[in-house]
Amino acid sequence: MNFEIPKETNTGKVLEVTIGATSEHGGTRTHTVEIGGSTALPFHFFEGHHPHPPRVAMEVFDKKPEKYPALLLDYFGDVIDHPGDMAKKCVQEYGAEMISIRLDGTHPEKGNRSADEAAEVVRQVLDSVGVPIIITGHSHYEKINEVMKKVCEVTAGENCLISYVEKDNYKTIAAACLAYGHTIVAQTPIDVNLAKQLNILLTEMNFPREKMVMDPLTGALGYGLEYSYSIMERIRIDALAGDSMMTFPMLVNPGYESFRVKETRAPEKDYPDWGDLSLRGAYWEIGTAMSLLAAGADLLILYHPHTVATVKSKIEEMFEAKEGE
């Protein structure tokens, strides 16, 4: 029996994006992280190349989130109010490859902290760890524009990943990224056409294509995951088919989305069929993260130390298959 492996070769390639900058390039990071570069669907080593494995980031906060899950306090209770220390813990103890700083405390209804305060938090984190940094904002346009402008300025040259701009609010932040040498995240609400449209808008501003990342918006397991999953598959298929406006690496937020839902909060006594909460929290995030990896995620921001360990070792294991075929 002569079986021939049916290979599909693609004309397109996911762009390679570098995040962070070392002193050589005007930053202070100890190393940079590269994502993207795939010429085939996720983990299809038999018919293409994946020069860079997907990367795992963890998230710290400018202000302890009001609804921060008790489950995670077991790991971060001592550092949750100290973003610099928390970042250090994430990198040194839990193996985070990048750190996201979520600036929700600047939202007018969640603390209304000033742009200067946000910049100070970012400074602390940059001083505490050497990994490249993601800065994650919110949807209060007026405020986040002010905050991001400031943060971009004080981190000039660091090539942070600035997350995120939207269709109705991209100009100010994109201009700041351009001026101070940062990489940008284009976020769209689970829709192929809107994603493409925003990418076009950014390139029309002459935003460099190799400094753009897409966030197609993550739905947690049981909360719209299948929409994110299929949109990401479609985006990646289009990218590999050569659509230059879809060819950017993809960022997902399994941590933030999973730890908002009931399944990572409700105790087993209230929902006996749901099983042990201490396990369920990481399970929920692992289910979300692993399926989005299969759909094409290049960068994942995770919360639970067990998820980070599991997903990292799984990516490593899957990349061993690179040799196997």
């Binding site: 029996m1 080593f45 209804e109 069929d273 099983g275 998820t307 899957m318």
Partner: protein
């Protein structure tokens, strides 16, 4: 070789009777050629047509049934990506029962697994099967456990023993159950005879593609038609590639030996790692996934994932249309209204919960459409919402007489007030994520 629509048309009765549900024979022929219909839908097909179309009308991936009453059905998939159409048959999720665990422990496992079910979005989610493995010399305990499962469970069974005699005794013991036989080695003639005699599906294992294909041919020649394929690896990356290659060969290359559902056994002892492997398997084409242990929380996550991935992308999941309590509402709590598209429901209820208030959430029947789509289709307008509220008895349940509608349908507020005398309609925010800030800034009761 697949037949063209025209080739098939020549074999049909050409009467355009419409009994197959398609107006003309030509149209039916085209559907057959695209594998979107089966010849059995034509009640007048001649034997000659059936024979000629046999191969062409066969689904590219065979449907396999394990069990007799309410069998587990897997396979018959037609696409590589769920957005192309849908994935049709949810994979069977099972656990392994190892004889070496001892009778007492296994009794417990069987009972727990058998009893497990969880409700999600109005659907009852349950795992499906036992893989019963004789991993010791104790053949009698193997048979005892099979007997126990037969007595106490209605789930599908895959039996797994290195001992040919034990396999035979097991199949005979479960002969009315249409159990599946797991062969980790090359099938012997006795095994294939056994499977053929008792009409049992067989899980074939191999280490490489060529070996797997020749084992499939051998089984088919022996008259065993119902096969499940296990191309061995413990590496998740290889698993994903194997499964892609097998599925693609069956669907795109019409490579018959691989036109069967796929099987994975997860060996990891670390539960987090096991779930990560199972997730990749479920997304990428495994039709049978066997877990090492019973773990409620893990099953809940995996069954939810299965529900998500196997949802028809063209038919959104609906939640029951009713008034949902969010938090612990009193008759004075605010009232919100939205549609019964599951995603809408989840996001809106989640954000109301996030806002920290208790409320009544009125979920109208819009046949699973989202707010704007339902509004455009006339299913989410003043009249229908008012009718639903009255029928649901909300006016008796609550004292509040203000109702918050989604910001995207502000235009229905006048219409709704007219249809709902005594109520004041408040136009809410457009995005659910703004609900927490909306409830802080607007007087809702």
């Amino acid at each position: 070789m697949a037949l063209s629509g025209l080739d098939i048309f020549k074999l049909l009765p050409k009467t355009n009777c419409g009994d197959c549900g398609v107006p003309t024979c030509m149209a039916f022929a085209m559907k057959l050629a695209q594998k979107k219909a089966e010849l059995s839908e034509c009640p007048h097909a001649s034997d000659e047509a059936k024979a000629a179309l046999g191969a062409a009308s066969e689904p590219p991936i065979r449907l396999i049934k394990i069990g007799r009453k309410n069998p587990l059905e897997v396979g018959n998939e037609t696409v590589m990506f769920r957005h192309e159409k849908t994935f049709f048959h949810q994979p069977g999720i099972g656990i392994q029962l190892r004889i070496s665990e001892g009778e007492e422990r296994l009794r417990e496992k069987i009972e727990d697994f058998e009893g497990y079910s969880v409700e999600r979005v109005g659907e009852e989610l349950k795992p499906d099967l036992f893989l019963i493995t004789q991993d010791s010399q104790d053949k009698s305990l193997f048979l005892k456990i099979l007997e126990l499962v037969k007595q106490s469970s209605r789930k599908a069974v895959i039996l797994d023993s290195p001992d040919e005699d034990a396999r035979k005794a097991g199949v005979e013991l479960l002969k009315d159950e249409r159990t599946a036989i797991f062969l980790r080695q090359e099938a012997t003639q006795t095994d294939l005879e056994l499977a053929k005699t008792h009409d049992c599906p067989v899980v074939l294992t191999a280490a490489a593609y060529d070996e797997l294909a020749s084992r499939v041919e051998k089984a088919k020649q022996a008259g065993v038609q119902d096969l499940i394929l296990n191309l061995e690896t413990t590496n998740t990356g290889l698993r994903l590639q194997h499964n892609t290659i097998l599925r693609r060969s069956a669907l795109k290359k019409n490579f018959k030996p691989f036109g069967y559902p796929l099987f994975t056994q997860i060996f990891s002892e670390n539960a987090y790692d096991a779930l990560a492997s199972a997730t990749a398997s479920l997304c990428k084409y495994d039709s049978i996934i066997v877990l090492p242990e019973y773990d409620k929380a893990l099953l809940y996550a995996l069954l939810t994932l299965r529900q998500n991935i196997y949802t028809d992308p063209q038919k959104p999941i609906q939640v029951d249309a009713k008034v949902y309590p969010i938090g612990e509402p009193t008759p004075e709590s605010p009232v919100f209204v939205t549609t019964n598209f599951s995603l809408t429901y989840f996001i809106v209820s989640g954000e109301i919960e996030n806002s920290g208030i208790s409320a009544h959430l009125v979920v109208c029947d819009t046949e699973g459409q989202s707010v704007l789509t339902a509004w455009a289709a006339g299913k989410f307008v003043g009249e229908t919402i008012a009718k639903f509220i009255k029928e649901a008895g909300l006016e008796q349940q609550v004292k509040t007489r203000k109702i918050v509608i989604p910001g995207f349908v502000s235009q229905i507020s006048g219409d709704l007030e007219e249809n709902l005398p005594g109520w004041e309609v408040i136009v809410g925010c457009q995005e659910a994520s703004d609900i927490p800030s909306f409830v802080k800034n607007v007087q809702l009761t």
